[in-house]
Symmetry: C2
Subunit: 200 residues, 2 copies
DNA sequence: GTAAAGACGTATAGATGTGTACGATTTTTG
DNA sequence: CAAAAATCGTACACATCTATACGTCTTTAC
């Protein structure tokens, strides 16, 4: 199989794996079920990924790379920091509450070894949080906020932004929000955030 | 088996089930494993609970009852509302980030049917959130806060209080916080909350 | 074009889970 | 104390998953 076709096939399989997981849970997403759904053989799955956990680890990694790229794009935009913060909020909610991230978080919750959770944290929060802290520094230097420190500001922003939405998505009691709902929520969050961290 | 002994045996079994689930995940917590660990027969488990999902539904219900009792105790205390809010924050963090709630949330995340998640929401958030809203009303009437509305204040309080701690606990990247850590976190949260919702 | 490599489908062994059945033993009831 | 009920432990049928093996077919490389 040529390298490019193989890459395409791999991402097809990973996409199908996530879809099976979405419909039948982490338990139901056996290597056999995934192979059937992807019209692949389980031998190929075992050859390529080793086992189920490593398959999902790959998915976590590629999802983290996609997410980071989406956020970096917003950060690199030539806009005033308050607009970047708004854009970051929208993109983060879109990512965190979307089907892919929710499915992966469910997988991590089902995985008693903790490896999936560690990979999510490493590719997600640990890479994103410093960027938010930096952004808070930019906002502070622009005189838009005056928090105790940038890290605290980032924590408050994320708390106000995400609240219990992510947990409710993960346990399945909240449907995926629409773009409009996300935009409204970000607007409310920003008002609260500036009220909380704005200069006296 | 006498009624009182049977009740005790049931809660023993449910406690063991949660412990097995904690160590081996929802997948690994098979009826057989639970029966062995509880020194019961799987026949008894099937007779009493029907199947694995209903067993965990029972655990969710009794946990919700315990949690509600703990919170109601704080609400009924004869204290000024700001002290009640502080106490509620501590108790909620203690409950939400404790082993029991985390294990049950993981079970709900693993359960593709959504029944466990629905039960957690029904016994948890849906019962607790209105109490927080009421408490916000009391704080507002006491002139301690001046939010857009009580519900929004409750959402902000919970967002600032919980942040991403619960998700990180569920995916296994955060250890259970100590009582000291909880107290410190609640103090910081309250400062932020009053800064956000305090009268102008 | 032909040989090598790899993917597919099926088959397989071994392990484990679900839900039920059945004696043996213990506990409750009268 | 004796009969009845319930639990325990084991066994069972059935299904499914993991991980591997093998023959066939397609794709790649020379």
């Amino acid at each position: 199989m040529r390298a490019e076709r193989k890459d395409k096939r791999r991402s097809e399989i990973e996409s199908v794996a996530l879809e099976v997981m979405r419909q039948r849970g982490y338990e139901g997403a056996s290597m056999l079920n995934i192979a059937k759904a992807a019209k692949a053989s389980n031998e190929t799955l075992y050859r390529w990924y080793g086992d189920k956990q490593q398959l999902f680890l790959e998915i976590v990694k590629s999802n983290a790379a996609d997410a980071e790229a989406a956020l970096d794009k917003a950060l690199a935009a030539d806009l005033p920091p308050e607009n970047i913060l708004e854009e970051m909020g929208k993109r983060m909610l879109h990512l965190l509450l979307g089907e892919r991230a929710v499915a992966l978080n469910r997988a991590a919750a089902s995985d008693a070894s903790g490896h999936l959770g560690a990979a999510i944290a490493k590719g997600g929060r640990e890479r994103v949080f410093p960027k938010i802290v930096m952004l808070m520094g930019a906002l502070r230097k622009a005189g838009l906020i005056d928090p105790p420190n940038d890290e605290q500001a980032a924590k408050w922003f994320l708390g106000l932004l995400i609240g219990d939405l992510q947990t409710r998505r993960i346990i399945g009691t909240l449907p995926q929000p629409t773009r409009t709902q996300i935009n409204d929520h970000v607007e409310t969050t920003l008002q609260a955030f500036y009220r909380l961290c704005g200069p006296r």
